[in-house]
């Protein structure tokens, strides 16, 4: 994406660089990383809100990149993939009653008769455990947790197969977070909903996700199953993320936090070699790390890592 500047040459932000992975139906994938890692950009690319520069997005065997560029076909894709964002209230029109907001997708896609839509509404409300009493009101009267449930309910009205959550619980209080996480788990287990769960808080990813993808500055650095990632993570950045997690145990023991020194490099001027080189705590890092980009390699079965210095 070029940034327009008044006098300088436009600079390119390398948001996502050569990311490849498969999403299997019925699983919850976690996409974790800090700001600038490209996870939000990736979610916007999948739903077609951002245009990609190069590459393919293959959904059920078809490359949907060109479909996403066309408004009419992108609308079709909305019936399969939906995005839930961090700011719950910003996604809800303030001048529409909740009932209208929820039935609107069915109206837009011309699905069902009025009677069938009301029936669907009842079913979805039950699934997300929302009290029908909220239907006549406006979203601004409701708490963040309830607003987010409405966003999820709206997606479920279309029977989507894939739900992408981009930090959808980060702005909520701890109890609402737990409720929404439980809901996602239930939707996955009972309704076989496939999910991509994007978060910066790796503890929520631990709770929800079957497979975890760790990103740093636009690149995947590690992809593994939940157990493999949390019990035996291989990439130093993944390790740092897990170690930096605030926990009550650390608080009780008055333990110092593990500190990763340095700052994240700018995504405009990428480092020559490994993106993580400047902050990598591995004493064995060398010229190869500084000058070449490590590729994502299958180190163990279903466990891919991008690092030159993995111990065998």
């Amino acid at each position: 994406m070029p940034r327009r500047s008044l006098f300088k040459k436009p600079a390119y932000v390398h948001a996502v660089q050569g990311v490849s992975f498969d999403i299997k139906k019925g699983l919850i994938y976690g996409l974790v990383g800090e700001s600038g890692c490209g996870k939000s950009t990736l979610s916007r690319l999948i739903v077609g809100v951002e245009q990609l520069t190069k590459g393919k997005i293959i959904f059920r065997g078809t490359d949907i990149v060109s479909l996403l560029k066309n408004n009419r076909t992108r609308k079709q894709m909305c019936r399969h993939i939906q995005l839930i964002l961090q700011d719950a209230s910003a996604s809800l029109p303030p001048n529409m009653r909740v009932a209208q907001i929820l039935t609107e997708p069915l109206e837009i896609h011309r699905i069902g008769s009025v009677k069938e839509r009301i029936k669907k509404l009842g079913e979805v409300l039950e699934t997300v455990r929302l009290n029908p009493s909220i239907l006549e009101g406006y979203p601004s009267e409701l708490s963040g947790g309830v607003q987010q449930k409405i966003n999820i309910a709206r997606a479920l009205m279309l029977d989507v197969g894939v739900l992408i959550s981009d930090e959808s619980i980060s702005g909520l209080d701890p109890v609402s977070q737990a409720e929404i996480m439980n809901l996602y788990l239930e939707l996955n287990q009972k309704n076989k909903l496939t999910m991509i769960f994007i978060a910066h808080d790796i503890s929520t990813v631990w709770f929800l996700c079957d497979v975890v993808i760790v990103m740093y500055l636009g690149k995947c650095v590690e992809i593994a199953n939940n157990e493999d990632l949390f019990n035996s993570s291989l990439h130093p950045y993944t390790r740092a993320l897990i170690k930096a997690l605030p926990t009550i145990e650390k608080g009780l023991k008055n333990k110092g936090m593990y500190v990763l020194k340095g700052e994240v490099p700018s995504p405009v001027t990428l480092p020559l070699g490994c993106n993580f080189y400047s902050r990598c705590p591995n004493p064995a890092k060398d010229e190869e790390c500084r000058t070449k980009k490590p590729a994502l390699k299958e180190y163990k079965k279903n466990h891919r890592v991008a690092c030159f210095k993995l111990k065998d």
């Binding site: 996480m181 605030p246 145990e249 110092g256 990763l260």
Partner: protein, 324 residues
Amino acid sequence: MNSKLLEIKNLKVVGHTRGSTQTIIDNLSFELNEGESLGIVGESGSGKTILSKSIMRVLDPSCKVVNGRIVFEGKDIYGLSKEELKKIRGFQIAIIYDDPLAILDPICVVEKQVREAIMTYQEGISKSEAIKKVMHMFQILKMPDPEKIVYSFAYQLSGGMQQRVAIALALVGNPKLLIADDATRALDVTIAAQTIEFLREIKQSQRVSLIWISHSLPVCSLLADKIMIMHAGKCIEIGTKDKVLRNPKHFYTKLLLKVTPDVNSPRKKLPLLSGKSNASSTSQYDSGCEFCDICENVKPICYNQAPTLKMVDNNHFCRCHIFN
């Protein structure tokens, strides 16, 4: 024996919005000794930010302290003159927020802003002396690349560095009390960890008392000696960190502990509140306990009478009818 640095006694703060009056802080009392740090946990709307603004006496005109006292080093904050307040606010008591850009001047370099703060605090100091103090301070605080940071504008710095500059500004007046209001909320996990360690060192080296506010119990536990759980403007449990976290007494504290995912424990579903929808919203009863709809230990008295804070153990208090 540490002396009492801050005493909040029966504080009540109300706010006027859209023609109605709401109680934002309700009969709140607690103490903070010198060198101690208090962690305050509460969700948004619990009154924790209004509390810190009340302590600094920078409340919005729509909010008012209608009862109680805030006593800092033996002086009633609301009894001080403007002159006396000027020396305390921002210097003796300093604050950092979740958004460092709310404090940092966007149109002057870091050095100028910190230098001006030093010159305001130390009347009579020359500009060149003040500049030297800025550099000295940044070196003591072990800021990385102090020469570069000092001549940057706030927007040129990363979020973590902005927060460190905001902390440096807060330390200009050698504060006895530093209030950190959700200071790591907007920071990435690894940068938050850096900031927390930075504050831990400052706590020790500068002998500053800390009020460490967060909506997250794990984050709060990292720097606190005592923990207070706030909900709807009231203190519902307060005690030493050990007591509150190892032996929580209030239903809500226990719930907060249960809903925190722990990567070291086996993965299982997080507990939902007893099947009620909109469960995270608390009751509308004016006279009863706001948890009566969702608490598993509810008794008839809970619907009619609001509980008061009772001592349950040495240095451990809880607001619940169970302890009557």
